[in-house]
Amino acid sequence: MSNALKDLLYKMADDALIIGHRNSEWTGIGPMLEEDLAFSSMAQDKIGHAQALYKILNEVLGEADADTLAFKREEKQFKCCHFVEQPIGEYDFSIVRQFLFDHAELIRYDILTQSSFQPLAQLAKKVKGEIKYHVMHADTFVKQLGNGTEESKARIQSSLNYAWHLALGIFEKSEFENDLIAENIFVGEDELKKRWLEKIIPVMESANLKVPATDEIKIVYGGRKGFHSEYLKPLLDEMCEVVRTDIDAEW
């Protein structure tokens, strides 16, 4: 069972770390000062979630400490989905990604509050409020921009179309899917996806956005099995640049 648990924790932690890292790139150059602050806080929250999940891996499941897991693993050891690896692009992509990703995240954590794996259930209870804010933030922006100017409407719709099959990659199943369900650790990605669609479709409708059509073949999978987009390797090289200058130093 511990392999299944590790798999779940790694993919959640890696998703959180990478999207947090990406979103922190906006700090200081956001579209308005208030939004700069909000986006930056949420990036910090995400990085904090990654740290907490790695800590469970370390303390409960015997993996290395959080800093080692984040800063000293190889690209192929990461289990994040391609969606979070994508560059920040322009603000419309970043906000659409936040909208799609955080709705899934909120439902995931909400479900995990009932997990049979206590350390995860406790963490989920603790940080659910943070993700609730991330969703509130994303919904507010998506609705405003979707109902805004011709330019903002077009941008949000086209980013949504672009992001759609990447976002569906969040729900890629691993070989441990059935174990996690059987042990009441997690309800599984299919159920998560179902509830996710139920949540986001009404918001898209009230934002005057067309729900993109899903083409199963186009869904971007691979991340959960260690196969990544061309963006992850450079991201990790950049993130680890200082660490690698003096690998044994304490920073």
Binding site: S24, I29, L37, S40, A43, A70, Y91, E238
Partner: protein, 328 residues
């Protein structure tokens, strides 16, 4: 030079020639003399409001431009603790900008007008941010010493006469003390770390020494003074006094780590006054006038942020809502 109060000669002259209603001026000045604050709705001399806008606006620009040198290392911070601290720290700079623009807005200049003036070069920001952050150690030095210098300036300014500016600065000083602590922590880790870590720290200190001496502006004997700004509690301490206070607080904290400053003449005299070699005030002037290593990049990045964010802000605007000056 966060929010510099150094006047050009022309400005100094105008300060002394603008005629105000003597009765109102008298009430205004005696209010300040009593130690009371001025609030946005109060009558105030034209020059008081003008100088405050200039100073608060410059201070605000310094915050949002100041976010850029440190932003250089945001994606490369070496562990969770430093990554979170750095993002939170750079975020605070933007937050301080938000608070300061808001304080200046109460005087009737909108945030957008202030940003326009930053981008057109009409209004300045602190010179210190025109230098690059070459290595991770620069982040430690900026966090500890540049923020240390900023705190000296901001604590003094928070005793000024304009209510909204004082309130903003109180909050800012509280947050700056986090910056200082995390900067010191970072400096200490490098100084007590490996040979490589000590070397990059020493190198960063060597490079930042002069910009830090420049930070508080030219020596008192070279800068135009305004008795009025002192009387109105817009300016509260001289450049030299602030610089001395900074050296007194921070030099020993670097020396105790067996790290040096690149100045054989740096020492504290028996009268408590620090002595140092001439930090090349011509370079200071050159950089202020646009010829520093990063001036062009800083403005180009702010222009990008302004342009790239325009469609977002436009989509949020509602033409039927009329802008009014914020209250406090």
């Amino acid at each position: 030079m966060y929010g510099s109060t150094n006047l050009s000669e022309e400005e100094a002259k105008r300060m002394n020639t603008t005629v105000e209603d003597p009765e109102k001026l008298e009430a205004f000045e005696s209010r300040i003399a009593r130690g009371e604050k001025i609030e946005p709705q109060d009558w105030m001399p034209v020059e008081y409001s003008k100088q405050l806008i200039r100073m608060i606006e410059q201070h605000a620009h310094s915050e949002i431009v100041g976010a850029l040198p440190e932003g250089t290392w945001i994606t490369r911070a070496p562990n969770f603790r430093r990554k979170l601290a750095l993002i939170a720290k750079v975020q605070d700079e933007i937050g301080h900008g938000q608070l300061l623009y808001s304080a200046a807005e109460t005087l009737g200049k909108t945030r957008e007008e202030m940003l326009n003036d930053l981008l057109s070069g009409k209004s300045k920001y602190s010179n210190v941010f025109n230098y690059p952050a070459l290595t991770w150690a620069d982040i430690a030095v900026i966090g500890f010493l540049v923020d240390g210098a900023a705190i000296v300036n901001q604590v003094i300014n928070s005793k000024g006469s304009y209510g909204p500016y004082c309130r903003a600065l109180e909050r800012i000083c509280y947050e700056e003390s986090f910056h200082l602590k995390q900067g010191h922590d970072n400096v200490v880790y490098l100084a007590t770390g490996t040979k490589h870590q000590r070397a990059i720290l020493q190198d960063a200190i060597n490079r930042w020494y002069r910009p830090l001496l420049h930070f508080f502006g030219p020596p008192d004997k070279q800068s135009a003074h305004s008795e009025k700004l002192m009387k109105w509690k817009v300016k509260l301490a001289s450049n030299d006094d602030m610089r001395n206070q900074f050296l007194d607080q921070y030099v020993p904290k670097i020396w105790e780590l067996d790290i040096t400053f690149p100045d054989p003449n740096l020492k504290k005299n028996d009268d408590g006054i620090w002595e140092f070699s001439d930090p090349d005030w011509n370079e200071f002037k050159r950089v202020i006038n646009g010829d520093g290593p990063c001036n062009a990049e800083r403005i180009a990045v702010r222009k990008f942020a302004e342009e790239a964010g325009r469609w977002v802000r436009q989509a949020l605007m509602n033409p039927s809502e009329k802008y009014v000056v914020p209250l406090a």
